[in-house]
Structures are given as C-alpha cells and as structure tokens.
C-alpha cells in the first residue's frame, strides 16, 4: 500500500561530519516495507528542492512489538541531504512509499553475502534481519574510505552477522576496495566445493549496494565464481513511481548478454536487479 505521510522527526543522530541517521514517525510505510525498498523524501517547503529524493529504508523501528517508524541513512551531499542532516526532533519530512522491487532473501543452506560501499549500507539492516529470520548464515562485506566512516558495526555484530571490513586508507580491515576481500572469499568458497560442476550456483547469494562501479565489479566477480548476485542501483530519480522515465538503466532480458540492451525504469523494475541482468557500461 502506497502512503504519503508528513512524518515527524523522532530523532536525528549524527554519525560523522557527513553521515546521519534520521528516525521518522512513518509506521504505515515502515510496516509495509520489504528489504531493499525505498521512500521518496521531500524535505523543506516549496521550490527548493522541488523534487523528492529516493532513500533506502535503513531500519524498521519497533517498540513493544509495534512498528513505530523507520530510519534513513544519509550522507550530506546536496540540498535534501543537508536538510536531513540539519533536521531536529519535531520537524516534519514528507515521506512517500514503500516503493520499488525488493531484494529476494535466500534460505538455508545457501549463505547470504551482503556487500556495502559507503552509504550503500542502507538496505542491509532490514535485509540482514530478514535473512536471519530465515536462519540464513549472513556476512556483511563493508567498505568505506576510512574506518571513521564504517557505521553500525556493533549493530550487525550483535545480530551475529559476520563482518568483513575494508577501507581505502587501511585504518580498519583490508586496505583495499571491498571487492578485494569479496573476491578472496569467493575463491576460498569455491575451493571448498569438491566438484563445482555438481553444485547449484545459489550456494552463496551476493547482495550489493553502493557506487555503480562497485556494483559492476561485484556482479562480475560473483559471476566469475559462478554465484548469483542482486544489486541495488541508484539513478537520478524524478518521481519514484514510473512517471518520468529519468532513472532508466540498460538491461538485457534473460541474462543473454548478446541481446541488445534496453532501458527500464529503475524505480519500478528495480532498484534491485540481478547482477547479470544489467548491461554494464
């Protein structure tokens, strides 16, 4: 069910000089949200900014078994994210959703490997919870520029989600892009399989969200080791409803990489796509 709500800011937590987590009283949207879905946010009044911006739902907030809100993980970059960074308790933020095609969680014995780059952590709190509820063994590969920009590590640890960390400056974890430890572990996983030909490809499902070059690298490395992937893309969106045709991404039907690519709207055909479905540049 699609809802537009003037959501009250319950709290706003600054994680760093650029990142914040804003909690919004939007229980109807939160209760209906599936992992990987997004909301369209309108902050401020009038013409600046004019259009809404898409945000993955980060956490679904519960108290006494009742859903009472959701949070957004935001990095201050533009007008909307600056307003979200500066918002204080009691402000209202217009919130439309839930929107988009969600992740498909896998069941045991398959494992789930979630790969996050920077603010691309956003969909993996809800996905992690959904996977754990199914009893699926879950790992988070999480990369950022520096250790000070790796957030919510204890949140994931306390839920028994294994963490594999990477930073560009080496302050925490591998000094590398997050795809380096992913590739290392995919290779190790493959070597543990006695006969790769006889095993289904879904032994590990790779989930990714982050900058598009990272998603492309994840999709390719997953495919190279015979694993499926689901990636959440972010394109410039005007409406989030399929009305404006601005957020298109080139895909090929049926994973046939020889077929011509065509544009689909990432707001309604995505934002989650199979990694082998996207016609990467």
């Amino acid at each position: 069910m699609l809802v537009d709500v003037e959501a009250r800011v319950i709290r706003n937590t600054r994680l760093s000089p650029d990142y914040n987590v804003i909690a919004l009283a939007a229980p109807d949207i939160a209760a209906a949200t599936q992992p990987g879905q997004f909301v369209m946010v309108k902050s401020g009044r009038g013409g600046d900014p004019l259009l809404r911006r898409p945000f993955s739902v980060f956490e679904v907030l519960r108290s006494n078994n009742r859903v009472d809100g959701l949070t957004l993980l935001s990095k201050r970059i533009g007008v909307t994210t600056r307003i979200l960074f500066d918002a204080v308790e009691g402000d209202t933020i217009s919130c439309l959703g839930p929107l988009g095609r969600p992740f498909e969680p896998v069941d045991p014995p398959a494992e789930a490997w979630m790969v996050a780059g920077g603010v691309g952590l956003a969909p993996f709190a809800t996905l992690g919870e959904a996977l754990l509820a199914r009893g699926t063994k879950t790992t988070l590969f999480y990369g950022a520029r520096t250790g000070a920009e790796l957030f919510y590590l204890d949140w994931f640890r306390s839920r028994r989600i294994r963490l594999v960390l990477a930073t560009e400056d080496g302050s925490i974890g591998d000094r590398a892009r997050v795809t380096a430890p992913l590739e290392r572990e995919l290779r190790a996983f493959e070597s543990r399989i006695p006969n790769p030909e006889s095993r289904p490809a879904a032994d590990v499902m790779v989930y990714a969200c982050g900058p598009e070059p990272m998603l492309e690298a994840v999709a390719h490395v997953a495919a190279r080791f015979g694993r499926q992937s689901q990636v959440s893309v972010e394109r410039v969106m005007g409406c989030g409803m399929g009305g404006c045709y601005s957020c298109v991404i080139p895909v090929r039907d049926g994973a046939e990489q020889t077929r011509p690519a065509h544009y689909v709207r990432s707001c309604i055909a995505g934002p989650v796509f199979r990694g082998d479905e996207i016609a990467w540049a």
Partner: protein, 314 residues
C-alpha cells in the same frame, strides 16, 4: 452549493478540468495505486511513436530553481504495444484517455491517428508537435505555421476523435500557432510544452543533461505559460488547455481565469502523486466561496478593465 466541474473540449465532455500531463504520468496505469483514474478529467499518456523508442541516455533530468529540466527523448513502447498492453487496463480503470502522438513525418501522424481511432477507449488525440528534445520529431511541424496547419488538417481527415495540437512556447508568437491550428480544424489547443533550456556543471564544465539541452517545466515557468494561454485565448475560439507549473488549485484557477477551459498538471504530480484530490477540493472550495455554479463560466473571466474598486478603511 452543488458545483459543476465539467468542461467541454469539442465533442468531448470532461468530468472536471484536471488532466494528467503527457510525459509526466507514464501510461497512467503506474499511478492507479495513488489515484482513481476515473476521477480525473483526463489522462494524457506518454508520447507515442509508431515504433518503440529507447530515448536518450541518462542523465535525463536535472533540478533547477523551482523547476526541472528534462531530456528523456520520448522513450516509449510504440502505439501497437500501447493498444495491446495498456489501453485495456486504462479502459478497466475507466480513464478518459488522451493519447499524445508524435511522428517524424506527416504520414506517421496519420497512421498513428488511424490506429488509435480504431482502438477502443481513446477519448482524444493530442498532437505532440512541440517536444524540444528530439531532432526528428514533431517540433519541425510545431515551429512552422504551415507545418502546424498541415499536420492538424491531415490528422483531422482520418479521425473522428477530437484533435488537440500541443504547442511549443519556443516560438516568437504562440498565438499565431493557435490560430493556424484552429484554421486547420483543431478541436482545441494545449500549451505550453517545456521551454528549451540548459544547465551546466561549472566544476566539470559539462552539460548536466546527456542531450546538452532539455525542456524546463515546473513552477519556474508558470507566469510565462499563463501569459501565453491568455494570448491564445484572445486569438482563437476553440478551447485552450493550459499547463505549465501548476502545483495548487490557485495555480489552476489562474490558468482558467486567463482563458484555459481545462488544465494539465505534470511536474507537480512527480512531487505529490496524491495531488489530484487536493486540486479538486481547492477548485470546489473556490467556486463555493465565489458562488460560481459552473467552472466553465469562470473560463477567461480575467478582468483587465476595472480598477481597484474599494479602499480598505483604516
């Protein structure tokens, strides 16, 4: 007080003057979860060519002050898939469907009109002769008085449906294009399409749109659009359908008072897909407050003669 919101576009009666603008509402079905399409005066679906089109590569939109620039490039499924895949659903939802059509040649417009006249559930044809974003499209017709006259006459010959050319504001005198349309037999004109515009990222010195230039819409263009509707109203007798940055009922009323029989809402629907009920409520409230029974009686009632009638005593 009961109010009558219905308006007449040629032989077509619309339940109210609010039409979802082409290019801003997908094929209509995308919005069925947000709004009962049968409550809209009309749904102008995304511009259709005969064949499927991929459109321009991203970036396709960029936000500007109180507006947005777009260069989508008329991505679309083509008329045949539209008739097969979308029209039955629009019929089921009881939408008043206005199909926006676009061709590279006169023959293509004629063929599109034939196909859609044979289809069940099309209420009117809007001729896209004004998209600023594609070289081969109808803008060549829309920027020439003869071209406008020729395409309207040719389509009128092959369809019983009301024909509504959608005019570009990127001409010296838009009213003369309204006149050419009327002389060619158009049932109404709609205006304005977007203003040709551009935006540049000064850090990279690159254009913000892949197509370099695009069409500007949103509240930023509204006063210019109101002026153009006013000019066209004075130039022709056929109905004028006004659009350009309408975001509230007061905005819609401004167009209606300037001379628009109906209005289209585009960019504002992106911001608020639940806008339609709010606009209808606002129109109704205004009519009750001003004791206007029929909204058709409000069309073109701008008062340019009388001066301020009373002083507020202090």
């Amino acid at each position: 007080m009961a109010v009558d919101l219905s308006v007449q576009i040629g032989a077509l009666t619309l339940a109210n003057p609010l039409i979802a603008a082409s290019g801003c509402f997908g094929y209509g079905v995308e919005y069925a979860e947000a709004v009962d399409l049968s409550t809209l005066g009309g749904v102008a679906v995304k511009g259709l060519f005969l064949k499927e089109r991929e459109g321009h590569p991203p970036e396709r939109i960029v936000e500007t002050p109180s507006g947005m620039l777009n260069a989508i490039g008329l991505q679309g499924i083509g008329v045949h898939r539209f008739v097969r895949e979308k029209l039955p659903e629009l019929r089921r939802l009881r939408a008043t469907v206005i199909v926006n059509i676009c061709g590279s040649t006169l023959d293509e417009y004629v063929e599109l009109a034939r196909v859609l006249s044979d289809a069940e559930g099309v209420a009117a044809l809007e001729l896209n002769i004004s998209c600023p974003n594609i070289k081969e499209g109808g803008i060549t017709f829309g920027c020439s008085l003869h071209g406008t006259f020729d395409v309207v006459s040719a389509v009128k010959k092959v369809t019983p449906l009301p024909v509504i050319p959608k005019l570009t504001p990127n001409v010296t005198d838009v009213a003369s294009f309204a006149r050419a349309s009327e002389e060619a037999g158009a049932d109404a004109v709609s205006l304005v399409n977007t203003f040709l515009a551009m935006a540049i990222d000064v850090e990279t010195r690159r254009p913000r749109l892949s197509n370099i230039v695009g069409g500007l819409s949103g509240p930023a263009i509204r006063p210019i659009a109101v002026r153009m509707v006013y000019e066209c109203r004075r130039a022709v007798k056929i109905p004028v359908i006004g659009m350009g940055g309408i975001a509230t009922a007061r905005d819609a009323l401004e167009f209606i008072i300037a001379g628009a029989t109906a209005v289209q809402v585009g960019t504002a629907n992106f911001v608020d897909p639940f806008i339609w009920g709010k606009l209808l409520d606002g129109l109704t409230e205004y009519m009750r407050r001003h004791e206007i029974a029929r909204i058709a009686d409000l069309v073109g009632t701008i008062d340019t003669t009388s001066r301020e009638k009373q002083w507020i005593s202090s």
